[in-house]
């Protein structure tokens, strides 16, 4: 680890405001003390998610799609380091307001070494029509960690869609630590989609979390199409009465990849609704764990929690788990869960094949349908096309090795 003084020097080199430097220092001091986030039935303590040797605090930029609507509606959309200088009060108010750097080792690490980020603030009563695209590319041509932090605030009764696209250039063994915080203020409507396709030598930790105020509505559509080991937490805190979160995630895992995802929705406000839908497809020797965690705390009466965790096995050597967990501390609620681990549906297969479609293609069509809760919800455009192309490619490769081994 860097020494404290070097850290301080590096940090001030970028003219960051004092409050940010102090937060970084505070976080830095916690890294050694805090534990890794807990993942049910998954061990990853040997993964290189915090770096022990020196590295420069190189700041890299991310790209936002051109969108004239943003300016028209006085949306703040800026590099997080720029924003912390220009709008120190608001950035200080919202940075680490949803996830907190004192929760675990990896969140502390993120705040201490953050080198990439975005601050997006949508004022009250604004409706953005076009999805806002956020492009993050990790440069792995050389040794450098990507430590990204995105803060999104959607004002009261405002509405916006976001699409994040996460990818890598180069093949260096690097870590990526990705935090997204969403503050959905009262009556707001937020859709956050993401296509993650990090290269296989990366080790990825993510933490995407939303706080929902009264009557806020948040929908997550996350596609884990990475080739790398991945661990992380997708969470929605239903704080306000009548808030609604629908947390959807899909994954296709290949090779020796290990992926563990906690998908959590916590009902705190009364009459809140928390839905989870996770779909995973396992190929080759990969391992995938989908933990669905629905928690209803005492006082959240009239709430609803429902979850589905489904895993499709396309290999005899892959290992998949779909674990539903319901933690309920309130009587007046509706809660349900469904989980399944299995092969493709033979009735659907027979139907498609009876029209002349060959087995392998029919199988990909059925899988495509299985992944539809997320694939179908991603707004049309470049990122969606890319996502469909990646899933098709992964499935073709996976089928090839599966049927080769069968013979």
């Amino acid at each position: 680890m860097l020494s404290k003084t070097t850290f301080q020097e590096l940090s001030s080199k970028y003219n960051e405001p004092d409050w940010l430097i102090n937060e970084r220092l505070e976080a830095f001091n916690l890294i050694e003390k805090l534990l890794l986030p807990k993942m049910q039935q998954f061990k990853y303590s040997d993964w290189p998610l915090t770096i022990n040797d020196d590295f420069a605090l190189e700041q890299s930029a991310l790209k936002i799609s051109d969108n004239s609507e943003l300016e028209e509606n006085k949306v703040i959309c800026q590099d997080i380091f720029e924003a912390s200088k220009q709008y120190p009060e608001i950035v200080q108010k919202y940075l680490n307001s949803v996830s907190h750097f004192n929760e675990d080792k990896l969140l502390a690490y993120n705040t201490a070494f953050m080198n990439n980020g975005l601050f997006l603030y949508i004022p009250d009563n604004v409706e953005i029509q076009e999805p806002i695209e956020i492009e993050i590319v990790q440069n792995s041509m050389s040794k450098s960690a990507l430590i990204s932090h995105i803060v999104i605030v959607v004002g009261k009764n405002s509405k916006a869609k976001f699409i994040q696209h996460l990818s890598t250039v180069g093949h260096e063994k690097n870590l990526a630590n990705l935090v997204v915080e969403v503050q959905a203020l009262a009556g707001s409507n937020v859709e956050f989609s993401s296509l993650d396709e990090m290269e296989e030598n990366t080790t990825l930790y993510f933490n995407r979390r939303a706080n929902l105020a009264r009557d806020a509505h948040v929908e997550w559509n996350v596609a884990f199409m990475n080739d790398c080991n991945t661990v992380g937490d997708l969470a929605s805190e239903l704080l306000g009465e009548g808030s609604y979160a629908y947390s959807k995630a899909i994954a296709i895992t290949t090779g020796n990849q290990k992926v563990a995802v906690n998908n959590r929705v916590i009902n705190r406000g009364p009459h809140s609704t928390g839905l989870i839908n996770q779909r995973g497809v396992l190929l080759e020797d990969s391992r995938l764990i989908f933990n669905g965690i629905g928690q209803i705390v005492h006082g959240a009466h009239g709430s609803k929690a429902d979850q589905q965790n489904r895993v499709l096995m396309m290999s005899d050597t892959a290992q998949g788990d779909a674990n539903p967990l319901l933690l309920i501390d309130e009587n007046d609620v509706i809660a349900a869960h469904a989980a399944s681990v299995g092969p493709v549906d033979p009735i659907q297969m027979n139907y498609l094949m009876s029209r002349g479609i060959p087995y392998a293609q029919a199988e990909r069509m059925v899988i495509h349908g299985f992944l539809d809760p997320v694939l179908g919800a991603i707004p049309k455009g470049k990122v969606k096309d890319r996502m469909l192309a990646i899933s098709e490619r992964k499935l073709i490769n996976g089928q090839r090795s599966y049927y080769k081994n069968k013979k």
Partner: protein, 264 residues
Amino acid sequence: MATLEIKNLHVEVKDEEKKVYKKILKGVNLTMHTGEIHAIMGPNGTGKSTLSETIMGNPKYRVTEGQILLNGENVLDMTVDERARKGLFLAMQYPAEVPGVTNAEFLRAAINARRPKDDPIPVMDFIKELNKNMALLDMNDSMTERYLNQGFSGGEKKRNEILQMLMIKPTFGILDEIDSGLDIDALRVVSRGVNAMRGDNFGALMITHYQRLLNYIVPDVVHVMMDGRVVKDGGPDLAKKLEQEGYAGLRDELGLDIKLVDED
């Protein structure tokens, strides 16, 4: 002219509860050619659907004896998709729902599966053909972008089966109770679709309980099945006679010792 021959076909199906195989077909013989429409009638539980599923190759059914030949080629050695590409089509009684795959996407995949890899159907040709056939079946445009059979009503599913047949243009279409659950208007529309296929290059095998369908699609040959065998062949008049006398009447006339399923 193409020929579909079923010779001494014996089929059994696994009883999932008891884990034993149950004999359903006990020696079916039937020959049909393109240019002909055949109807198979028969009481419940007699093996009509088993016959159609077996011709198409549903893995649930096991052939223990006999042959199915398409232009002299043994169909039983082929996988389901091979049979389809060779020209067989089964309009199913209970079509599967496949979410995430649109009707149009599915139809295009089915058509292209029959063409060389480097020569898929041109998009405009496909759309033209699709619009023509949907108009024939009084189908709403929105059906093309809806997911395959998902949330379709019973009538919509049947129309969709006929739409697929019109698009794929098989040599032999097997229609398994295409009339069940249809009101008169829908029955008329579905029949219009089947009649549009009539011609020298198409043959159909229709499975039905009721003579009513045969007023709309007049068959050339009627076969009556009982207890896993074809017990009588005839023309359209045979169907009318059955409608009047019932299956029990024919059974007694033929002196068969068969207990009908719904008889106490």
